[in-house]
Symmetry: C2
Subunit: 361 residues, 2 copies
DNA sequence: ATCATATGTTGCAGTCAACAACAAATCTCG
DNA sequence: CGAGATTTGTTGTTGACTGCAACATATGAT
């Protein structure tokens, strides 16, 4: 199982070095020595090895400003390993080709106009997907082993997306959910690196949430935030249940709606203001259950939930306060994401790089 | 960080061998070779190494029944590494000294009669705790870094139990929550080894739940099942919130109550039957939120929830069906634990062994 | 009784990381 | 301006571990 050997050891160390450079950017050999806990000579050998393989570039003779021999700086070669990331929404598909180190090499986007997203993949990726080491698609919904078990936004249930993408593009795809991808993105390339348990809430046409623990997504898929029942026996939801958060928050279906509502509320529309408050309370209640069950220390409000949170933070907080124990609340930070709309795409790419690095081991 | 070296490699392999024997019992060298993916000679060297260190005993010449040279069987030496496990309840403290391989070497129990559990520790463990490699205490409640943040059953909030135990016994203690410990126990020594996401529900004077993913407890502590709000604005709970599951299920406070109720219901008491049904429904609703948030594939009803589930499975299932998506439900098995009352104690010991093995690496 | 089979043992070779001594390149202080 | 201090890269050596292959051992099957 562990398949541990002396060759395996070198591979692991090489992978660790690549991961270190990918995650923390260009570093001197001395810094790498410190970070990996290996000997200077070992780092030198590994770096030379990786430089020959083309993964790493070493720029020599940087003046450090302090005493001592100047370090040679090691950095990733972006084109040495690329990952195709795709984010699927109901109305459009976005694509990014990301290089080792995190640099975005290409980017594209297509509106769908009702077409099936899978049919748009080849166009939007422009064929570059084939050369990438990994291809990852983020979809808003409940993903289980490449299959989209449920997606309010896309109206899918039990669709084998990984299979469909494979037959459409001729290569393997990894499927993740948008919220978890965004959580990974915010953790790795955003502002939430200190969070040990990060909960990302994604508001699209449906509501999902993704959890990341120590930067890793626990297997088992995302949290269907929209289908937390906040009103037993309440309004009928498209999923067949009653009183789901999505159904109860009927005021807001999509990003445009929330903008109108905040605008109207800002201009003194009492009904809009009331709607915002009620929606915030519903969200806070659903969140209470999720927080009690998962115990995060940071929550990010993404998608249109960002706007809702910014204009209805008080009701969200008070409803949350009514439904979670003080201790769980005390260590909890509520914020909005810094990567904006890019989080899921970046996170999908990072998910791909995680498996790329894993495969090097 | 990774501190990888050639010496580290041997340690890792040695730890892997011990872990393998601890978890899967006595095995032939050939089986170990297969399981660890190492060479026969390597296994031989490791086994000899560990035998000399006293961790492993090799009994030679077992007749296998099939052709070929008979294998030498390697097995753990229980006394080579022991773990002290303690389960704290409001009315009693239970203790087990568990040896490597999982054998229970000693066992004791004391009623508390209102005394502080910490004061009873030295008596119940009989001083053997000091010689154990690890000491683990399981408590029903929300545990965070050795501190009991909240416990309905014990009436504690923010108690530094790890510290109190340390000053009472003169050694370090690990503190885990009962439900998570029981989940670990059922996964490792019980019947739930196939579950990838195992949710254990523990009914004591409070209700907690513990999650185990691939046999490991994700950091961050247990799930306060009893403080999932099932009735917004409902009955006041001791925790200060309103409508908590614990408060709404006021019919049952402890094991004796559920026995009376099931007895009465069996004899035709309509009120008791109704109470059971309502409690089952409340539990199912709270469970719905937890399942939506965590997505387990197996749920075990432990403590007095076992009795509730056995006599009110239908309302639990129907309430669960009303509050979780079909896909999450479809892969879900509901069962009762096989280790009975021992689960938490055994799981606490296994938690200890996990760190013992980790420290060998 | 002999062969096939399965397993443990031994010696050897390959590889890798730590260590130490040395070289290189910069800064600082007199 | 120069010598020493400082930091870092390089090289050769050493110790250790694992894989491999050949051999030894013990049993069942024919």
């Amino acid at each position: 199982m562990a398949r541990t050997g002396t060759e395996e050891l070198r591979r692991r160390n090489r992978a660790a070095l690549v991961e270190q450079l990918h995650r923390h950017g260009p570093q001197t050999r001395a810094e790498l020595t410190e970070a990996l806990g290996l000997n200077r000579s070992t780092i030198g050998a590994l770096a030379a090895d990786l430089a020959e393989a083309g993964y790493v570039q070493e720029t020599t003779g940087r003046s450090t400003g302090s005493a001592g021999r100047p370090s040679t700086l090691a950095e990733c070669v972006p084109k040495a390993a690329t990952v195709t990331a795709v984010e699927i929404r109901v109305d459009r598909v976005r694509f990014a080709l990301v290089g080792l180190g995190g640099e975005v090499l290409e980017r594209a986007e297509t509106a769908l106009d009702g077409a099936d997203p899978v049919d748009a993949i080849e166009v939007v990726t422009g064929g570059t997907a084939r050369d990438a080491l990994e291809a990852v698609a983020a979809v808003p919904g409940l993903v289980d082993a490449g299959e989209v078990a449920h997606s309010t936004e896309l109206g899918w249930a039990g669709r084998d997306l990984a299979g469909d993408l494979a037959s459409a593009t001729g290569r393997e795809w990894q499927v993740v959910d948008t919220a978890t991808a965004a959580a990974v993105g915010e953790w790795s390339r955003g502002d939430a690196h200190e969070a040990t348990k990060l909960l990302y809430l994604h508001g699209g046409r449906g509501l999902t949430a993704g959890l990341v623990v120590d930067g890793l997504a626990p297997r088992g898929g995302s949290i269907q935030l929209g289908h937390i029942v906040v009103q037993p026996g309440g309004r009928e939801c498209a999923c067949g249940l009653r009183g789901c958060l999505e159904a109860e928050m009927e005021v807001f279906g999509y990003a445009e709606d929330i903008e109108y509502a905040t605008l109207a509320a800002g201009m003194g529309d009492a009904a809009a203001r009331d709607g915002l408050r009620r929606s915030g309370e519903d969200l806070g209640r659903a969140l209470g259950a999720v927080v009690t069950a998962t115990g995060p220390d940071e929550i990010l409000f993404g998608g249109w939930l960002r706007e809702l949170y910014l204009s209805a933070a008080a009701p969200v907080r008070s409803a949350l306060a009514e439904t979670t124990l003080p201790h769980l609340r005390s260590r909890l930070r509520l914020r909005t994401p810094v990567l904006g709309d890019e989080g899921a795409l970046i996170g999908a790419a990072e998910t791909g790089f995680a498996t790329v690095v894993d495969r090097m081991r």
